[in-house]
């Protein structure tokens, strides 16, 4: 089994709800707390497992904003695990989740140096490295309804831009969507073989704004309606 996330960049609206849900769940999860420094001060900072960046791709007028959520990729060849001198970082054989044993970590930062995706953040209060657990304390919880046994970020996403499943199973929903939509991995050239995949933005026909020609009957009716109905 190789559990991971598939993130649909075509529908992500960049609302940061996944990051907030992640923080909410994990602030009391297995690697809790996720310390905040100066949360109400001049320089707010803190530990987060999930961060959302926004990019502009292309030049105006052929440009597009793409929101880009990133958390641990649970790599197949996770260098963060091999470089760890204490054995605190490990990858579970049964489902491929990469975790940090908080009781063994000595806070040397070396795993964060080995991670190209910025998935690991040091908690200055506990002195240990913390990272996305893929909500390991939730996805196997038999006390909650089966449809809720998913990572907090996946459950909360209002746009359904996040999918969770087994990427080893070719028949799983995540594997099929990766196949159909041409899902890809980030920085494949480094050879980490990340489990998480990203679905590219669909190519849409641009909406014409110039040389539209004479308005037809439908457009005339629309124009009249727009004049009558006050916004």
């Amino acid at each position: 089994m190789r559990l991971g996330l598939v993130i649909d960049l075509d529908v992500c609206v960049g609302c940061h709800a996944c990051a907030i849900a992640c923080k909410e769940w994990n602030a009391s999860g297995t690697t809790a707390p996720l310390t905040d420094y100066q949360p109400y001060g001049a320089e707010p900072s803190g530990v987060w497992f999930n961060r959302i960046r926004s990019y502009e791709v292309g030049e105006y007028p052929n440009n597009k904003t793409i929101n880009f959520p990133m958390s641990c990729m649970h790599c197949e060849d996770a260098d963060c695990v091999t470089v760890c001198p204490t054995g605190a970082s490990y990858k579970r054989a049964e489902d491929g989740i990469v975790l940090v044993d908080q009781n063994k970590c000595m806070g040397c930062n070396y795993c964060s140096w080995a991670c190209p995706y910025g998935a690991r953040e040091l908690d200055r209060e506990s002195g240990t490295m913390k990272k996305c657990t893929l909500c390991v304390d939730r996805i196997y919880d038999l006390q909650i309804p089966i449809e809720e046994r998913q990572p907090a970020c996946v459950l909360t996403c209002p746009a359904h831009a996040r999918m969770f499943g087994d990427l080893d199973d070719p028949g799983s929903a995540v594997s099929s969507v990766v196949r159909e939509r041409g899902g890809y991995q980030l920085m494949p050239e480094l050879g980490y073989n990340p489990t998480n995949h990203y679905l590219p933005v669909r190519t849409a026909k641009p909406i014409p704004t110039e040389n539209l020609g004479k308005p037809g009957f439908k457009d005339k009716i629309k124009g009249i309606a727009n004049r009558i109905v006050k916004r």
Binding site: H16, A19, E43, P44, S45, V47, W48, R51, I52, R53, S54, Y55, E56, V57, G58, E59, N62, T65, I66, F68, M70, D79, T82, V83, C84, P85, T86, G87, A88, K104, C105, M106, G107, C108, N109, Y110, S112, W113, A114, C115, P116, Y117, G118, E121, L122, R124, S126, G127, T128, Y184, Q185, L186, M187, P188, E189, L190, G191, Y192, Y198, P200
Partner: protein, 311 residues
């Protein structure tokens, strides 16, 4: 990369210590210039052990949770950081046996003394290589992921060690020509390797770019928003950037203080102890500048998610 003083001191100090020990042993074995008096051998040996110990202690200050530091010896099969610790610890008993027998001067145990010294020297070389590989094995940092990095660590460790050996030898009543020649030979090797390294990292190569990092390969990619209002662990640890002009100035300082001035002092300054000490001090300052720059110039690929176009 954020240049942490604890790690800079650790690599410079333990590098010089291991370099000093290996050269002390080789000079002892082959009897350079008739060999050093026992007193000088002991001073050099103890200085090497102290430098290594000071370096390892300094590296502890880099840890956020040092109470688990003992666990760092457990993963030597995969982690170069763990190997560094294990080999450094394995070095000590052999080095102590070698120095102890040197102190006692027992002709019947001479073979044992030389065997222990040989093993300690081998372990010192492996440890120095491991220190370099801690950085060299990281695929995420182009400036480090190069065989030149462990080569530099070995060369600079031996160069600074040779200088310290010369400083110790200058106190004894021995001819110094051999020691000075040794320093100058290692200086040429270390300076050449460092120059090749600087030349090599100057060109961006075919590494990761903002396009491979995001997968948006069809057009220009520009970061609009990082998603945080103030810095994060990632920006603090990896965001450090050295100004191009300053880095050039510092590189000049590395070569002047590290190599050119010590070479001039040793070739035209005479062999008074004080001038040799001046050369050692200048070179060590150059080594610290070199190590600071080694960290400051390293650009981690995570910067591609914080606005960098390439690393």
């Amino acid at each position: 990369m954020h240049p942490a003083f604890s790690v800079i001191f650790f690599t410079v100090s333990s590098g010089a210590g291991f370099g000093l020990f290996t050269l002390l042993y080789l000079m002892d074995l082959f009897g350079l210039d008739g060999g050093l008096p026992v007193e000088q051998k002991l001073i050099a040996g103890i200085l090497a052990l102290v430098l290594v110990a000071a370096g390892l202690t300094s590296s502890m200050f880099h840890l956020a949770n040092p109470k688990n530091a003992w666990r760092a010896f457990s993963r030597f099969r995969t982690s170069w950081l763990s190997r560094e610790g294990v080999f450094a610890m394995a070095f000590y008993p052999f080095a102590i046996i070698y120095l102890g027998l040197t102190w006692l001067v027992l002709p019947e145990l001479e073979v044992l003394r030389l065997m222990a010294g040989a093993l300690a020297t081998l372990l010192a070389w492996i440890t120095l290589f491991s220190t370099g590989m801690i950085y060299g094995c990281l695929k995420t940092i182009r400036q480090w992921n190069s065989p030149l990095v462990p080569a530099n660590y070995l060369a600079l460790g031996h160069f600074s060690g040779a200088l310290l050996l010369l400083a110790v030898a200058s106190n004894g009543q021995v001819a110094l020509t051999g020691y000075v020649t040794l320093v100058l030979a290692l200086l040429v090797v270390a300076a050449s390797l460092k120059a090749i390294y600087y030349f090599w990292i100057a060109s961006p190569g075919t590494g990761s770019t903002i396009k491979t990092a995001t997968g948006f390969t069809r057009g220009t990619v520009r970061l609009l928003d990082t998603g945080h209002t103030h810095g994060t662990f990632l920006t603090q640890e990896f965001g450090f950037q050295v100004a191009r002009k300053f880095s050039l100035t510092l590189k000049t300082c590395v070569f002047l203080a590290g190599f050119v001035i010590p070479a001039l002092i040793l070739t035209v300054g005479g062999s008074a102890a004080i001038t040799i000490y001046a050369a050692v001090l200048t070179a060590l300052l150059g080594m610290v500048a070199e190590r600071w720059l080694f960290f400051a110039e390293a650009r981690h690929v995570v910067n591609l998610y914080h606005g960098a176009q390439h690393c």
